[in-house]
């Protein structure tokens, strides 16, 4: 009984990758919300995107090995992430120029 459960857990399959993706997603989510530093928020967003990519690649490998469409989507996500990072930096810098802070607690221009 114990050996059976151990072998199920130990032998890596799709589920393992999905769980890994979920863990990464939760870590990214955590970082996105709790960080006080804008740059760290950007980093957390990258982690979020990475976790999605892991899931895509895992599905491509286990479900759609002949067409690997998941990988193609991951390529798109990577490109979008690059654009997002560049724009994030640009926004950060123009923010920093207008109000010299990168502390999210101090940035509250959206207050309604």
């Amino acid at each position: 009984m114990f050996m059976e459960i151990f072998s199920v857990i130990f032998n890596v399959g799709l589920t393992h990758y999905l769980i890994l993706g979920a863990i990464m997603f939760c870590i990214g989510l955590l970082g996105l919300i709790i960080s006080r530093n804008v740059i760290r928020v950007l980093m957390s967003i990258e982690i979020l995107l990475c976790s999605v990519n892991i899931n895509f690649a895992a599905f491509a490998n286990y479900v759609d090995i002949n067409n690997i469409q998941g990988q193609i989507f991951a390529v798109f996500i990577i490109a979008v992430a690059a654009a997002e990072a560049a724009l994030g930096l640009a926004i950060l810098l123009s923010l920093y120029r207008n109000k010299p802070t990168i502390d999210t607690e101090e940035i509250s221009e959206l207050k309604g």
Partner: protein
């Protein structure tokens, strides 16, 4: 030759390109030389003219029309398409439009040269050319409608060309609104027709509303509405409403005289030769629909007749040279529509063609006169201009002879109309037509004598028109003089009837010489009356006092100068009927509709106030709320999915 036919769409697209080039490039330095715009425009139109002549030659030898279609939009099972049709009718119209428009463009270069809106003018001109040629080349009613509207827009833009003048902008608005009434009718008619014939089109191999299957479709609709012939007549009359507005027929004609506020070349091109003729063209295109309903035909014929006589009576008393010509146009269009309605299909189109040339020329002559007198339009201040501008005077004379039906082209086309009316037993209409012909002759020569003969009564020093202006006039004089004779179909010459209506049964005219002789006599009588009344020499000799003469026929004279009181009654109608209703509706809108909207706005504002409490300005808090919601959603969905 096949090449030109297969690429006939290019003729229409060339002006569009030129329009875009001029419109988007008019601030570039290259446009400081105005010749660039002229060359661009004239070259494209000339290319169109060459293509059109090849197409015309092709249609001479081919009876089957060439049709090309592209599906433009699909909505369910309704497929609407655009395309190109090349048959005798469109070939003729192409020829007329491109040739008239080329000459007028050259003329405009001189006429508009000092104007600041030169490039805009040419851009609009090209837009008009595009829409008119597109209209001519349309394969189906739907496409026709699109270009119909485009033609209206370019007409609107050009009437209001000098938009800083209040009269011009209000004239443009008037033209637009009145055309809207007609277009509304046309659209309703097309939709009604489509509604009854939709099953026919689905089974047909032709495109929806295609002209080539229109006769069968009309028969189908006639059968479908068989129990209520009234319905079919209503549809036909609704379709006819489009031409009524566009061709300035009786109830909706009031915009055309006002449209003379636009530049004179525009009056010549759009409001005399081509666009107003589009109505007649449309009647010709959908002739199979009208043919089936006698009531509709009668309505058309009588509308034409009333317009013809009304235009003629008003034109007699006009002092403004362009207004006189405008009412003359009205009257001539009435002639054509009357011919169409009476069954003389080819005669109407023949008159359309001849009229296009001589009326364009007449307008250009009047433009030359106005230009030469520094924008003086009133004939009171003209006279004796033959000495100052002989070329203009002689071409104007040729035009007058042509329109009055004294031997030149108008004679032949009018003669066909008369014989067509006679052949279809419309004796009343024939009498009206003959009277109108006499009046035409009278008022045209009245304008001629007032303008070019006698003593000069104005203050400005008249100067002669330049070569660029006179050259198009002289070129125009040639077709105005001879085209009727060439195509009359008698004396072994080619017959316009055979060319234009190979599919329609040709009405055999009774070859009598009485009718032409009568019409000639009547025209000459009109000419004589004008000479007696308006040439000082003869008037003095016969001792006629014009003012006394007018006093004697005061009620009729007032009726005519007040434009049959139509405009005034329209204004009264609007004042006492439309505006109160509008006020009522406005109040409804203000207090009830707005009240509901304001209530909703208040509610939104309140909920916004509540939601604003969540907005503390920190983006991450928003992210928390967002992901919290996402988490809840995921949770619920997972539970729902697994259980």
């Amino acid at each position: 030759m096949e090449f030109f036919v297969k690429n006939a769409g290019i003729i229409a697209l060339l002006p569009l390109w030129v329009f875009l080039i001029i419109m988007f490039g008019q601030n570039l330095s290259i446009y400081e030389n105005k010749k660039f715009t002229l060359w661009l425009t004239a070259t494209s139109t000339f290319a169109g003219l060459i293509c059109s002549s090849f197409i015309l030659a092709w249609t001479m030898s081919h009876n089957e029309p060439y049709i090309q279609n592209f599906i433009w939009l699909e909505a369910g099972y309704i497929k609407l398409s655009v395309g190109v049709i090349v048959d005798n009718l469109s070939a003729m119209m192409l020829m007329v439009v491109t040739s008239v428009s080329l000459l007028i463009q050259i003329y405009s270069h001189e006429y508009m040269n000092k104007d600041e809106g030169y490039h805009r003018f040419f851009a609009y001109l090209n837009l008009f050319n595009f829409s008119m040629l597109g209209l001519v080349l349309s394969t189906n009613l739907f496409q026709t409608y699109i270009f119909w509207e485009l033609v209206g827009v370019s007409s609107y833009l050009l009437i209001g060309f000098w938009f800083r003048r209040p009269s011009a902008s209000s004239a443009a608005t008037k033209a637009f609104i009145i055309n809207r009434i007609g277009d509304c009718g046309l659209l309703l008619g097309i939709l009604g027709f489509l509604f009854f014939s939709i099953i026919f089109w689905l089974n047909s191999s032709d495109v929806f509303l295609g002209f080539s299957s229109l006769p069968q479709a009309a028969k189908y609709v006639y059968a479908a509405t068989g129990s209520t012939p009234m319905l079919y007549t209503i549809i036909a009359v609704l379709i006819f409403l489009g031409p009524v507005a566009k061709s300035a027929q009786f109830p909706l004609h009031t915009w055309l005289p006002d449209a003379m506020e636009g530049p004179t070349p525009i009056s010549a091109l759009i409001h005399a030769a081509t666009m107003v003729a589009a109505g007649v063209y449309l009647i010709a295109r959908v002739y199979p629909i009208f043919e089936l309903s006698n009531d509709a035909m009668t309505i058309i014929a009588w509308t034409g007749a009333i317009t013809a006589i009304m235009g003629a009576t008003i034109a007699i008393t006009q002092q403004d040279i362009k207004k006189a010509l405008a009412y003359s146009t009205c009257s001539q269009l009435g002639f054509m529509v009357m011919a169409m309605g009476a069954g003389a299909y080819a005669a109407g189109l023949f008159h359309l063609m001849t009229h296009a040339y001589f009326k364009a020329m007449l307008f250009l002559c009047s433009g030359a006169v106005i230009h030469g007198l520094n924008n003086q339009q009133d004939m009171k201040y003209m006279g004796g201009l033959r000495k100052h501008m002989p070329a203009v005077a002689y071409t104007y004379l040729i035009g007058c002879l042509a329109i009055s039906g004294i031997f030149l082209s108008g004679f032949w086309s009018k003669e066909e109309i008369f014989s067509g009316l006679l052949a279809n037993n419309h004796i009343v209409l024939l009498i009206i037509a003959l009277i109108v012909a006499g009046m035409t002759s009278f008022y045209m020569f009245r304008t001629y004598f007032l303008t070019f003969e006698g003593e000069y009564r104005g203050n400005e020093h008249p100067h002669n028109a330049s070569k660029v202006i006179t050259l198009p006039l002289i070129i125009f004089a040639i077709p105005s003089a001879i085209i009727g004779f060439i195509l009359c179909g008698k004396f072994g010459l080619p017959s316009f009837d055979n060319f234009i209506s190979p599919t329609h049964e040709i009405v055999e005219h009774s070859e009598n010489f009485i009718l032409p002789v009568i019409s000639l006599i009547i025209s000459l009588a009109g000419f004589g009356l004008a000479m007696v009344l308006y040439v000082d020499k003869y008037r003095d000799k016969l001792n006629i006092n014009l003012d006394n003469f007018i006093q004697k026929v005061k009620p009729a004279y007032n009726f005519s100068t007040n434009l049959w009181y139509i405009d005034k009654s329209y204004y009264k109608l609007i004042d006492y009927m439309v505006i109160p209703v509008c006020k009522l509706m406005s109040n409804f809108d203000k207090y009830i509709v707005d009240g509901i909207v304001n209530l909703i706005a208040l509610m939104t504002g309140f909920s916004g106030w509540v939601l604003r409490l969540f907005q503390n300005g920190n983006v991450q808090t928003y992210a928390t709320i967002l992901f919290g919601g996402l988490m809840l959603l995921t949770f619920v969905l997972t539970i729902y999915w697994l259980l």
